[in-house]
Structure formats: structure tokens, C-alpha cells
């Protein structure tokens, strides 16, 4: 049994003989003794000397033990100063008064030394326990403050990275808690050089900084590649590889990625582990589910990763709705999940599409009465105007070494066509010419159109006429994937020629393919229009570039761009 540590004990007792006896007993047990003859003296002595424990007689003159106990407890504050009442009171009512006044125990008269020693020991153990609890509480509070501060700093850095995007575009509506980042929720959006929009809703495993820290490299990849003109598939491969490399084995990121194209009136979708998204077709009222067909990012090796996307037709008023699992997983008091059925009910009951978020939020509140802070939702529609572009990229060179008189030819053959997207590289090359930079959007759109035509209609022999309805759309992309997979021969050639002209210069782009060609005259007779659902996007090429022409029975397309040096 451990020896009792010496304590400073205050004895408040009005009977002189009893006080003397008790002091002697307590001193003999190894403690330091302070005495008081009434309640008021007891309180004063307590204030001055801060004893560890008090033996308090109940009935004393001037101030009784009850009042003295109340005052001493108040002075002690959070710390525990045990008060043992000395009493020959026997009625339980009187004993109850002792406890109400803050007493922790009683000692009956006549004093029994053994019992007194045992009580002092027990009370002291409680006293030290309380002291430890307070110490640890303060330590925890300090650590909590450190953590919060670290999160603030991380969030500030992340906001700089994340807000290089276009979440504020007019066709995007979203709902996210300000600290969603620390629940692993991530929402990114950016324009491609062609004016399409990439959107990503992600959900990292874990909470706090571990969940947030993966978001930064991921956002950098997303924004960097999107700005350069890479498509969803290349961006997905890069993001997956990066996360697989940098995240610990048990961490990953569920994500849904979208590419919305006003030009082709379509939305390309990749869902890895997220809840179903929904494509809401306004004309029919139908909500097409966009389920997860892939594993989340950061799990599979590059060889095993599946970057296949699904493409759906999308009309101008249609909307894509994505949500994080915070919505589905919201629990009520009985641990029932909100679930997909209730979400479907909200969809069904929703009369005004613009009020969808409010309807869902209300349904969640009614269900649980308490908001979760990992509920993220985003709704995207197709943007009418081609002009809505983000900030122009910032170039770091001065233009002294801008190449003004050169040509380059590339031939992409067979199996290369399956996986390699040369467009970002070709665009970067062209943007070395300063005069072309203001037209980077148009350049990319035209290049993409020419290349896509050459590959899909030329080499793969796909008929764009298939894309006139939803079934045809699906069939078209199925065939595209199948033919691409089976491709052995065939080529696409790209020729670029830049030469000075007057105060500026001229760029000629020619793209050739190994396909069967098409009836150029017939297509050219069609009126110019913006929609590229069928036809060969020829309108777009003719609108954005100059002197567009087709030769070699449609297998070779040529278009020019000009620029003037501003004075």
C-alpha cells in the first residue's frame, strides 16, 4: 500500500478539546495542520493558505460549517478541495444538508483514527484525479487550437489553388460547407481552351488534414491539364497515377468527372465510387442516373486503370446534378439513412428545377433536424455563349524568341491513335508564336475539330448521323471505343506552317486522314449553324478559321489563321 503523501489539512472545529485532539491525530498521521475555531476563520485561513483538504465541524458560531463549505468550494473553483464534515448529527436530513453544502464525506464523533486516515487517503486520491483531469483538459484544448490553426493555414493555401477555376461561372450552382475540404470533399471546375467545361466532384477518404492534403496535388493536375487542352481520359490517368503514388495504401479519392460541351451538345462522364449523379432532361422530365462504373482514384495501377468515359447527349436546358455521400448517409436519431429512395422522392416532388437544392436541404433538415457539414451538391447546365471564357493564361516569356517562319509535320499511325492525344502538345507549340496567343481558344477548337473528324469519321469510319438521338449517341460511342480498340492501320497527319505576312503572320493548318473521304459538295451546301451533332463540324471550322477547304475527296482539310502585330 502506498504511503500517504503529507497534505496541508485545515481543521475547523469550535470545541477546543476536540480541535486539539483532532489536530494531534492528524499531525501524527504525517500532515501539516491549520486550525480555525469558526466558519469565518476557516474561510479566511483557506484564502491565505490554500490547504489541500478541510475537516469541517457542522455547527459553529459566527459562520456555520455549511456556509463555510459553500464559500470554500466557490473559492476552490475547478480544483477539488475535499471537505469532510465532522458531525455527531444523526438525522439523515442533517446529513443531506452537509452534502448539499458541498461536503464530500462525514466523520462521526467520537473520532476513529483508522477511519479518518482511510477517508483522508480516499479524498486525496480524488483530489489528485481531478487535478490530472484539469491538466489533460487544458493540454487537449491547446492541441485542439494548434490543429484548428493548421487547418486554417492549409485552407488558405488550398483556396489559392482551387480558385484558379471557374466555379463562379453562370452555369454552375453548388452547395458546400466552408470546411468541406476537411471532410475530403472537393469541387473543381475549369474551362478547356475549346470552351468546354471540366467539372469534378471528389471525396477523399478520412477527415481533417489527411483528407485535405491530397486535394492540392489533385487540383493542380486538374487545372493544369484542363488549361492545356487535355481531355478527361488523360487527366484521369494522370490524377490516378499521382494519387496512387503519393497517398498511403488505404487512402483514395472517389470522384465524378464531367466534360460538358456546348459545341457537341454532350456531356462526358466518369464516375469512380461516388453516388449516382443525375442527368435531368428538361424536355422529357427524365432523370438519367450516372452510376459509378469505376473504382475510385488512387487505387489501381496505371496498367489496370480504366479511363473509359460515357457520353450522353445534352440539350441546352438540361442539367447534370452531382452529390457527395454526405446527403445519402445523413442519419436520423434512430440511425436510419436518408438513402437514395428519399432523394428520388424529392426529385419526383420537385416542381421548380431552380429550387432543387432548397428542396433537398429542407428534406434533409426535416429528416434529421441537424445539418452535416459534408453535404456537397453541384448542378451544371450547358452554357449558351462561346464567349464565357476564364482568364487568359499568363505567359512568362517576352516574345524576343518567337518563331515566325517554320513548318512542322506529324504523322500519327495505327496503335498510337488509340491512346495518344496530340492536341495539347500541338497547341503549346503554336502558342510559342506570340501573335497567335489571343486566338488560342479558336485555334484549339479548330484543331480539335479537324483531328476528331480525321480520326472518328476518317480513320474509324464512324457516321456522325448516328448521333441524332440518345440511343444513337450511345451506339456511336460504343462503336468508337470498339473500333479504336481494334485499330491496327490508318493514320492522321497534321501539317503546320507559319510565315510572316505584312505586320503579322499566317498559320496554315492541314490535317489528312487515311479514311474513305466524304461528299464535300453536299455538306458545303448546308447552311452555317452552330450545332455539330451531325455533319462534320464544318461550320465551326469555317466560322473560326479562314479559307477553310477540303481536298482529296474530303481526306484533307486545310484552314488558315492570321494575326496582326498591335502597334
Amino acid at each position: 500500500m502506498q504511503a500517504q503523501e503529507p497534505l496541508t489539512i485545515l481543521i475547523a472545529e469550535d470545541s477546543a478539546a476536540d480541535r486539539l485532539l483532532l489536530s494531534t491525530i492528524v499531525r501524527r498521521q504525517g500532515h501539516q495542520v491549520l486550525t480555525a475555531a469558526n466558519g469565518a476563520e476557516a474561510v479566511e485561513t483557506f484564502k491565505e493558505q490554500q490547504p489541500d483538504l478541510v475537516l469541517m465541524d457542522a455547527l459553529m458560531p459566527v459562520m456555520d460549517g455549511f456556509e463555510a463549505a459553500r464559500q470554500i468550494k466557490a473559492l476552490a473553483g475547478e480544483a477539488l478541495v475535499p471537505i469532510i464534515f465532522l458531525t455527531s448529527l444523526t438525522e439523515s436530513e442533517a446529513l443531506a444538508r452537509c452534502l448539499e453544502a458541498g461536503g464530500d464525506d462525514f466523520l462521526a464523533k467520537p473520532y476513529n483514527q483508522v477511519i479518518l486516515a482511510a477517508k483522508i487517503k480516499a479524498m486525496d486520491r480524488l483530489r489528485r484525479l481531478q487535478a490530472t483531469v484539469l491538466q489533460q483538459r487544458d493540454l487537449i484544448a491547446r492541441h485542439h487550437d494548434y490543429l484548428l490553426n493548421e487547418q486554417r493555414v492549409a485552407k488558405a493555401v488550398f483556396d489559392k489553388v482551387a480558385h484558379s477555376g471557374c466555379l463562379s461561372a453562370p452555369n454552375i450552382r453548388y452547395l458546400q460547407s466552408p470546411y468541406a475540404l476537411f471532410n475530403g470533399d472537393l469541387l473543381l471546375a475549369a474551362y478547356t481552351p475549346a470552351g468546354d467545361m471540366h467539372v469534378m466532384l471528389g471525396d477523399f477518404t478520412g477527415h481533417g488534414l489527411p483528407a485535405a492534403v491530397g486535394a492540392m496535388p489533385l487540383a493542380e493536375v486538374f487545372y493544369g491539364m484542363t488549361a492545356k487542352g487535355y481531355g478527361l481520359t488523360e487527366t484521369l490517368r494522370e490524377m490516378n497515377a499521382k494519387l496512387k503514388r503519393i497517398l498511403p495504401v488505404d487512402m483514395f479519392c472517389c470522384a465524378t468527372l464531367l466534360c460538358l460541351s456546348f459545341q457537341s451538345r454532350s456531356v462526358e462522364v466518369w464516375n469512380g465510387g461516388m453516388p449516382d449523379g443525375y442527368l435531368h432532361r428538361m424536355a422529357s422530365g427524365e432523370r438519367v442516373p450516372l452510376p459509378a462504373r469505376h473504382l475510385p482514384l488512387g487505387i489501381l495501377s496505371a496498367q489496370a486503370f480504366d479511363d473509359r468515359t460515357d457520353v450522353y447527349p445534352m440539350a441546352v436546358d438540361d442539367r447534370v446534378f452531382l452529390l457527395s455521400d454526405g446527403v445519402i448517409d445523413t442519419c436520423d436519431a434512430n440511425d436510419q439513412l436518408f438513402g437514395v429512395e428519399r432523394l428520388q422522392q424529392v426529385f419526383a416532388a420537385n416542381r421548380e428545377p431552380d429550387r432543387l437544392f432548397e428542396d433537398i436541404e429542407r428534406a434533409l433538415r426535416d429528416f434529421r433536424g441537424q445539418a452535416r457539414d459534408d453535404v456537397s451538391m453541384v448542378e451544371v447546365s450547358l452554357l449558351e455563349s462561346l464567349q464565357a471564357h476564364g482568364a487568359a493564361p499568363i505567359y512568362s516569356d517576352s516574345g524576343q524568341s518567337s518563331p515566325l517562319y517554320w513548318s512542322a509535320s506529324f504523322e500519327f499511325r495505327g496503335a498510337t491513335l488509340r491512346r495518344f492525344n496530340p492536341l495539347p502538345f500541338l497547341l503549346q507549340l503554336l502558342l510559342e508564336v506570340h501573335g497567335l496567343r489571343p486566338q488560342s481558344g479558336a485555334l484549339y477548337s479548330v484543331l480539335a475539330e479537324l483531328y476528331s473528324n480525321a480520326l472518328e469519321h476518317g480513320v474509324l469510319g464512324l457516321d456522325s448521323g448516328l448521333k441524332r438521338d440518345a440511343t444513337g449517341f450511345a451506339r456511336y460511342y460504343e462503336m468508337r471505343a470498339a473500333r479504336l480498340e481494334a485499330l491496327q492501320d490508318g493514320f492522321v497527319r497534321v501539317h503546320l506552317q507559319v510565315q510572316p505576312q505584312g505586320e503579322g503572320g499566317q498559320l496554315v493548318i492541314r490535317v489528312e486522314d487515311s479514311g474513305k473521304g466524304f461528299d464535300v459538295a453536299r455538306i458545303m451546301e448546308r447552311p452555317l449553324d452552330n450545332v455539330r451533332l451531325s455533319g462534320r463540324g464544318i461550320s465551326l471550322i469555317r466560322q473560326l478559321g479562314r479559307n477553310a477547304s477540303w481536298s482529296d475527296q474530303g481526306r484533307s482539310a486545310s484552314v488558315e489563321f492570321f494575326w496582326e502585330i498591335e502597334a
Partner: protein, 115 residues
Amino acid sequence: MTNPHVDREVLDTLREVMEDGYTELLETFLADSQSRLHELQDSTSVKVLSDVAHSFKGSASNMGAVRLAELCQDLESNAKDKSPEALAQLVADIHSEFAEVRPLYESEKHHAHIH
């Protein structure tokens, strides 16, 4: 021989605990008891009688004066119910009980010196 008025075992323990302070304890007890007896004599308030009896009871029991403690308990609990005559009788009983045990405590002081 067991004494019905004073528990000798209590005195033995007190002597052992107090050591050199035993005499001082006895003297303090005797002096306190005297003043308490005066208070009981002079007071007619039921509350005062009850409080003094309570206090006296405590000391008496600590000092092993069991019969004295019992009488004080009686006065403390029943002061409000007793008639003035009954109260006076009880106070007188306490006086005589103290007179009975006093010599024993006095002689204890001498024993302390001898030991």
C-alpha cells in the same frame, strides 16, 4: 472493572495518541465543560440549550464520557418537546453526571505525569 460512566479504552487510546499533550487535552476538556455547564444553567432558549448540548455531546463522546454524552443527546433532541421543569431536571442530571466523572479526569492528569 468496566466503568459505566467512562470508557477506559478510549482514555488509553487518547493517552497513546496525545503523548505529552494528554494533560493539555484533559485540562481543555475540563475547562470547556465548565463553561458549557454555565451556559446550560443560564439559558432558557430551546435553541441555545440544544446547540450547547450538541457541542457538549461531541466532546464528551471523544473523551469517553458515554453517559454524559447520552444525556446531552437527550437534551439536544428533545429540548423543544420538554416542559420547563423537565428541561431543568435534565440540565441538573447533566451537572451531576459531570460531577461524577470529573475526579476520574483529574486523576488522569496525575497518571499522565507518572507515565
